[in-house]
């Protein structure tokens, strides 16, 4: 009971910090919105190629790319979340929390849940905007909730990596820089913006090993095809695997820092 309470209290603290600096949310959303509004227009003619060669008959490029843009945002936001733990480390806040009897795992969980929450809020805004611009939403409200769930797990898993890097390097700049370097290559070599069948063959191979691909495929299925449970479960499986590794590493490094 006290574990849940402590996690909640620390979660709320992170959320308050988020709400009170809304400019950060704006910065985070700026890039995906540019993609949604400009990029999909720029590549609008790509839609016919999708119909003819990739089996996405009658699907606009906007509808196709929405899933990719949502996950791009989730990925890059989650990869920045380590900066907040660096802030808490360097400001002494973490130390102040650690001298209280609070459960150590609650500190980590509160942080991760708030990161996941942030990514879901951002995704909701992007999805709403995409819908207004005319993107498909094949599975309605239930599908959207499922998308949120996928994104929350996806965010949780990648936040773990970011937190681990933050705890290891104690440098916001490193976390920030690494996130920036990793995001686009991994994104381009996934199905986020282009289906596998239209990629050069070496990239198809990379894409098939790219975890982003699986999350994108699930969200894409839910936005333009329907409840494709196979794809959705596959996504949860892949994300779950990443989460086990990243959260394990985070827990290990956190233990090292706090003991």
């Amino acid at each position: 009971m006290s574990f849940a309470f402590e996690t909640w209290v620390l979660f709320v603290r992170s959320i308050k910090k988020l709400i009170r600096t809304p400019i950060l949310l704006f910065f985070a959303l700026f890039q995906p919105i540019i993609f949604l509004v400009l990029f999909t227009q720029l590549f609008g003619s790509f839609g016919s190629l999708l119909s003819q060669k990739a089996g996405y008959v009658g699907v606009s490029y906007l509808s196709f790319a929405t899933a990719g843009i949502v996950l791009q945002n989730g990925f890059s936001s989650a990869l920045q979340s380590g900066t907040s733990v660096v802030d808490d480390l360097t400001s002494g806040f973490l130390e102040k929390v650690l001298v209280t009897p609070v459960n150590r795992a609650a500190i980590l969980l509160g942080r991760l849940l708030s990161d996941a929450f942030r990514v879901v809020v951002q995704s909701a805004i992007i999805l709403a905007l995409a819908y207004l611009l005319g993107a498909d939403m094949a599975t309605g409200a239930v599908g959207v909730l499922l998308i949120f769930l996928i994104i929350a797990f996806f965010g949780l898993a990648w936040s773990g990596i970011s937190l681990a890097i933050g705890l290891k390097t104690k440098s916001s700049e490193t976390v920030f820089g690494l996130g920036g370097i990793v995001t686009f290559p991994l994104l381009f070599m996934s199905t986020a913006l282009v289906p596998t069948s239209l990629m050069p063959s070496w990239m198809q191979t990379v894409s098939n090993f790219n975890p982003i691909t699986y999350a994108v495929n699930a969200v894409r299925a839910l936005t333009i095809t329907g409840f494709d449970w196979g794809t959705v479960l596959e996504a949860f499986g892949v994300i779950g695997l990443i989460a086990v590794v990243t959260l394990g590493a985070t827990l290990y490094l956190f233990r090292k820092v706090v003991s």
């Binding site: 006290s2 309470f5 402590e6 209290v9 603290r13 308050k16 910090k17 009170r20 600096t21 480390l89 360097t90 400001s91 002494g92 806040f93 130390e95 102040k96 929390v97 650690l98 001298v99 209280t100 009897p101 609070v102 104690k170 440098s171 820092v257 003991s259």
Partner: protein, 334 residues
């Protein structure tokens, strides 16, 4: 009286080989205002980190309220309050929210917590600004908020790591007032570290002087000063080109001169009847060919105690410390 803190041959060695704390022994009794006086890097903060369960000791033993710091850290945490050297408040939260969060982390909630927070806000005179974001507070206000938030759970023992470093004199006097009130009126045992002689002298019932990880002297402030047993004469002199005698030699030739300690900024002599010796000193210099630049007479201070035991003076950093965003607080322990 029962020992609140008991430390036996405590040693902390960092992985780079630095002996931050090198075999110290001391104890703090219930209700005492106990101080660690020493310059930067003497081992004060390291000792606090070990006693507050944040850092592992290398060797030796220590207990807080009878609980071993290594094996029973969980029993210690609910009983202690800590104010670290850097002021730690969350600027995005209001003063009240900072305090409520701290209470929550100690398992407090509801009306009991609200009442306690109100009481403490009043104590540190922040009631009027309690609902403003702490980022807008002045340095002194943040320090008071930090102090108050370390008291929410009614700790029986409070660790204060250089609580007034970087504060202006007025804010410092304010913090002193609260610290004294907490100790005398609320009966909280206080462990204070400081590099300010005046602070240690005024507040502490008992203190230990620490330098290079070792305790060089301990006792009540007046015990320590009486130990000097003499007044201090500090003087500075300039050599003459042809002068064959050093300043020290001149002084040694004067009858009745006690210990002579050379330090930065001059030479300090300890003598029983210092005031009657000044004319002798002046005369001795006149005939020596050395020029006496200044001469100063003072009752022994803790600085003299420090000088006597370590051979150098405490140089307190009067300047405001670098911003707390600097990295490396945790890094040191590896």
């Amino acid at each position: 009286m029962e020992d609140v803190i008991s430390v036996d041959k405590l040693q902390v060695i960092y992985s780079d080989g630095t002996k931050a704390v090198d075999g110290i022994n001391f104890d703090v009794k219930e209700g005492e205002f106990f101080g660690f006086l020493g310059p930067n890097g003497a081992g004060k903060s390291t000792t606090i980190k070990v006693l507050t369960t944040l850092l592992r000791k290398t060797a030796g033993n220590a207990t807080v309220f009878g609980h071993d710091i290594s094996s029973h850290a969980k029993d210690i945490r609910p009983l202690i309050g800590v104010q670290s050297q850097d002021t730690v408040v969350d600027g995005d939260l209001s003063g009240r929210e900072n305090m409520v969060l701290q209470g929550n982390l100690h398992g407090m909630r509801g009306k009991e917590l609200d009442a306690r927070v109100d009481e403490l806000l009043k104590l540190v005179e922040l009631t009027d600004v309690a609902d403003r974001r702490a980022a807008y507070y002045s340095g002194g206000m943040k320090k008071r908020l930090d102090l108050a938030s370390s008291l929410v759970h009614k700790p029986k023992l409070l660790f204060l790591d250089e609580p007034t470093t970087g504060l202006d004199p007025q804010s410092r006097a304010g913090v002193w007032k609260y610290m004294r009130r907490l100790n005398k009126e609320e009966g909280i045992t206080i462990f204070l570290t400081t590099q300010y002689l005046e602070e240690a002298d005024r507040l502490c019932d008992r203190l230990a002087i620490i330098d290079h990880g070792q305790i060089v002297a301990s006792g009540t402030p007046s015990e320590l000063k009486d130990e000097i047993g003499a007044d201090a004469i500090t003087l500075a002199a300039e050599g003459n080109s042809g002068g064959a005698l050093t300043v020290k030699q001149v002084l040694q030739g004067i009858p009745g001169i006690g210990e002579i300690v050379e330090g930065e900024g001059g030479i300090t002599i300890y003598a029983k009847n210092a005031s009657t010796m000044v004319p002798d000193i002046v005369r001795a210099f006149d005939s020596s060919g050395l020029r006496l630049v200044s001469i100063n007479l003072s009752r022994p201070s803790l600085d003299d105690v420090f000088l006597k035991h370590t051979g150098h003076r405490i140089r307190a950093e009067e300047l405001v410390k670098p911003p707390s965003r600097m990295i490396g607080r945790f890094g040191r322990r590896r």
